[in-house]
Symmetry: C2
Subunit: 219 residues, 2 copies
Amino acid sequence: MSLRHALLALLDAGPMTGYELAKQFDTSVAYVWNAPHSQIYPELRRLEALGMVVAEDLPRGTHGVKRAYSLTTDGAAELVRWVVEVETPARPRDAAYLKATYYEYGSFDDARRQFREHRDHYRLLQDHWQRHVTQLERRETVLLRQRLALADEAARSAIAAYKVHTYEGLVERAKAEVAWAERGLDLVDRLQRDTVVAHDEPTARPHVALGTTGPPLGR
Amino acid sequence: MSLRHALLALLDAGPMTGYELAKQFDTSVAYVWNAPHSQIYPELRRLEALGMVVAEDLPRGTHGVKRAYSLTTDGAAELVRWVVEVETPARPRDAAYLKATYYEYGSFDDARRQFREHRDHYRLLQDHWQRHVTQLERRETVLLRQRLALADEAARSAIAAYKVHTYEGLVERAKAEVAWAERGLDLVDRLQRDTVVAHDEPTARPHVALGTTGPPLGR
DNA sequence: TTACTCATGTAAGTAGTTACATGATTCC
DNA sequence: GGAATCATGTAACTACTTACATGAGTAA
C-alpha cells in the first residue's frame, strides 16, 4: 500500500490539495510511483477518516472551495513506521521480459521492433531521471526546497543525498535496460545470419495438439 | 493481462494440468512472472470458455480425475498476436525506490538495514537467475527440451537464445541492484561521518502542521 | 496412520485502470 | 466567448492477494 505512504511523504513538504498531489504524481514522483487522481481522492478521504491527515476547506475565487490536506502526528508516525519497516519484496512481474522469452513466435523483425521500443523507452526514462538528479543536486525542485527549509541543519544533506542516490540508481537501471535491448538487437542479427528463415517470417510456430481446433460452438 | 499469455506459452510445451502449471509458476517462470493457483484455475476456465485451450479429463488413481489443458489453434494465434504486439510499458511502481527516497525519516541504522535487505534479496535472485541461464545453456530444463523437440531444426537455436538472453538480462539487473544497495551503504557511512546524529536516531522528523494532532473523535 | 504431494477449487478483500461526470476559474 | 487549467469526485471493471476448503494418492 505505497500510495498511502507516497501521499503522506508528499504532504510532509506542506499542505496540498488532491489536485496538487495528483500533479506531483504526474511529474516528479511519477517515475517511481504512479497514481491517477481517481485513486488519490478516495485515498485522501480514507487517510482523513483514519486521522492521518486533516483537511482544511479553502475558498477559491468567489464560490469555489478546495480542500488542503496536511499531516497529523498520527500520519507522521505512520510515515516513519513505513520507512523503517522492512517489507517482503513484491513478486517479480515483468511483462517485457516474459514476452522476450518467447520472441521466437514472431519474426526477426518483430523481435527487433520489440527491442527497439524497449531501448527507446528506457532512453527516455534515463533522460527524465538524469534531469531529476541534476535538479535535486542543484536544489531546484520545489518540494525538496520546502523539505530542506523545514528540516534541521544536520538533516539537510541526508534528505537530498537519499533522493539523489535513488534517482541515480534509476538512471543506472535505465542504462542497463538500454544495454540489454542493444545486446538483444545484436542477438537477432546473429540469429538471422545463421539461418535461412526470411526476416519477416515467424521463427517458430506454436504447436497445436491434433484435433484441437477449438469448439465449433462459437465464442 | 500477461498471466493468460504465460499460460498459453507454457502449454505450447505440451498438455498440462492446472497444478503442473502452478508448479511452473513456483519454479522456472516464477522469477519473471508470478501467479498463485487461485489465479490460475479460474483463468484456465476462462481460456477454455474462449476456445483458446481444450481440457481433457484424465483419470488419476481409482476415483480421481484431473484436467489436462492443451492449446487450440485460437490459443496459438492469441499467443503469437501477443508476442508481436508492442505494448505501452507499465507505469513505474517501485516500492523499494520510493521508500529509499525517504530514508531520512529513519536512523542511519534503519537505512543500512534496508540497503542490506535489498542487497541480499537481489544476491539471491542473481543466483537463481544465473543458475537458470546455465540450465538453459545446457538444455537441462524439461520445458525447453520439450519445446526444442517439437520445433523445426532452424528455430531451435533462436528458441534457446531468446530465453538465455532474457535471463542474462535479469542477472545484469540483479547485479545492478546489488551495486546500488552497496553504494547506498557507503552513502550512509559517509553521511554519518559528516554528522553528529547518533546512529540509531532518526535523521529527520516529519513536520506536523501546528494544531493538527488529529481529531479527538477517535478512529 | 500420518505426513506429504497431487489436485482443484471458492470467497472476500485490496489495488489499480479506464471512463464518465461536473463545474469553477483564469487568461486570451 | 472559448480554451486551458483548477478542482473533485463516482462507477465499472480487471488483476492480484490471502485465506478458506476439500479430498485423493503415495510412501514411510
